[in-house]
Amino acid sequence: MTDSNKPLVTIENVYKSYGSNQVLHGVSLSVSPGEVVAVIGPSGGGKSTLLRCATLLERFDSGTLAYGDLDVAVDRDGTAVYGSKDVIAQAKLRFGLVFQNYNLFPHYTVLKNITDAPISVQKRNRDEVEQQARQLLSRMGLEGNEGKVPCELSGGQQQRVSIARALCMNPDILYFDEPTSALDPELTQEVLRVIRSLAESHMTMVIVTHEMTFARDVADRIVFLDGGSIVEEGPADQVINNPTQQRTREFLLRYEG
């Protein structure tokens, strides 16, 4: 078990640019076990890039990244130095990512989408994995869909399958990259319900979202990211209802309007 006070993920002073376009400008974020953090902010503010760096889909230019006691990237004279292939592989076992566009494997059944990585990457026992997958599916309200392929499901159902897929890897922390942005309001609600129930069971999560009410209700902490840096950060209620920064207020007003 992990030390309950030690952050599961620690990102420190991260800089990242694409060419001359600086996307992350000294961002730091750490998440403790059981904590739910919502990341909000305007498009192009760096939310997705931060998530992509945390999930190792992108590498930042300088800064540090650690999963628990596993140093994934350390800073050496202002340049981020990433760990070996082994370290990266170990880090990937610690987190899961739910994409905006689900990115399910279209040629696999629902069950295989969920079980294939635990079986072929984590080398776990098939029966045990399938049992867990079925439990997850019923928790997602998707029992009976094991044999279907993704194209036979609605967007909301696909997103819930992708949540189950991420959870079946038993990650310490689950990231969501705008999980409901591709869904209509009704389907959004069914996905948000699932995330809410995960929060109630103290799953550690970082959620990039545009659903402000949801963020306020579900998150413990909200981070407002704009222009590549954290403008404001605090308890969810306070950031949404009583933001201290002018830019946060303006952003939230635009959203309510």
């Binding site: 999930t55 190792l56 889909l57 592989a89 990937k92 076992l93 987190f95 899961g96 990512l97 994409f99 566009n101 990115n103 399910l104 494997f105 279209p106 040629h107 294939d116 990585a117 072929s120 990457v121 984590q122 392929v149 993704p150 194209c151 897929r165 890897m169």
Partner: protein, 217 residues
């Protein structure tokens, strides 16, 4: 000449046609994978070699390539040509020519797979080989099937080019028979043979396509 004698001779030629067809597929389908991977390689010298290779193979006539490969051992290495040389040169020319076309079809398929598929596999910890074999390749096969069908049907007919170098496949046989009989009937029969063969190819391709029809993107 009796009809069944003619059919027998065309049949013998047809066997050679089928052999050429099958050996070409057996060689060029896997070779194309390596050409495609080389063409997509980030190692530039390899990529340029493959670009050049594909350009030559697609940019010059297959018949010319057959002759070049047939005569190369003699002119370049001074090796005497043997009775087997024609057949060997034909096989080699067909394989390397078709590998280039297949490679480009593979490439189009591989590049059409959305980035999100790679990213999902990456986050789930799949290795590069696993990602390719389990996630990308099965989707590529479905996507390239129509284009591959086109190329395979063209190959059936292209085998007739081997007549130019003197390989006794079906077209050569039909030509010889037509000259002897002084009529076009052998050509008509040969045409029917090619068509029937391609109908079988179509049936097989349709079946595979149907089998992969259980999902769409």
């Amino acid at each position: 000449m009796a009809f069944d004698t003619m059919m027998g001779m065309l049949g013998n030629g047809f066997v050679v046609t089928i052999e050429l067809f099958l050996i070409t597929l057996l060689g060029s389908l896997p070779l194309g994978v390596f050409v495609a991977l080389g063409r997509m390689s980030s190692f530039l010298p390899l990529q340029w070699i493959m670009r050049f290779y594909i350009s030559i193979m697609r940019g010059t006539p297959l018949m010319l390539q057959m002759f070049a490969i047939y005569f190369a051992p003699y002119y370049v290495f001074g090796i005497d040509l043997t009775p087997d040389s024609k057949w060997n040169a034909t096989i080699v020319a067909f394989i390397i020519n078709y590998a280039a076309y297949f490679a480009e079809i593979y490439r189009s398929g591989i590049q059409s797979i959305p980035r999100g598929q790679y990213e999902a596999a990456d986050v789930l910890g799949y290795s590069k080989t696993q990602t390719f074999m389990k996630i990308v390749l099965p989707q590529v096969i479905k996507r390239i099937l129509p284009a591959m069908g086109n190329e395979i049907i063209t190959l059936v007919k292209d085998t007739s080019l081997a007549f130019a170098i003197g390989v006794a496949e079906m077209f050569s046989t039909a030509k010889a028979l037509a000259a002897r009989e002084a009529n076009m009937f052998p050509y008509l029969l040969a045409g029917l043979f090619y068509w029937l063969f391609n109908m079988v190819v179509e049936v097989v391709l349709n079946r595979v396509e149907k089998k992969l029809d259980y999902y769409h993107d």
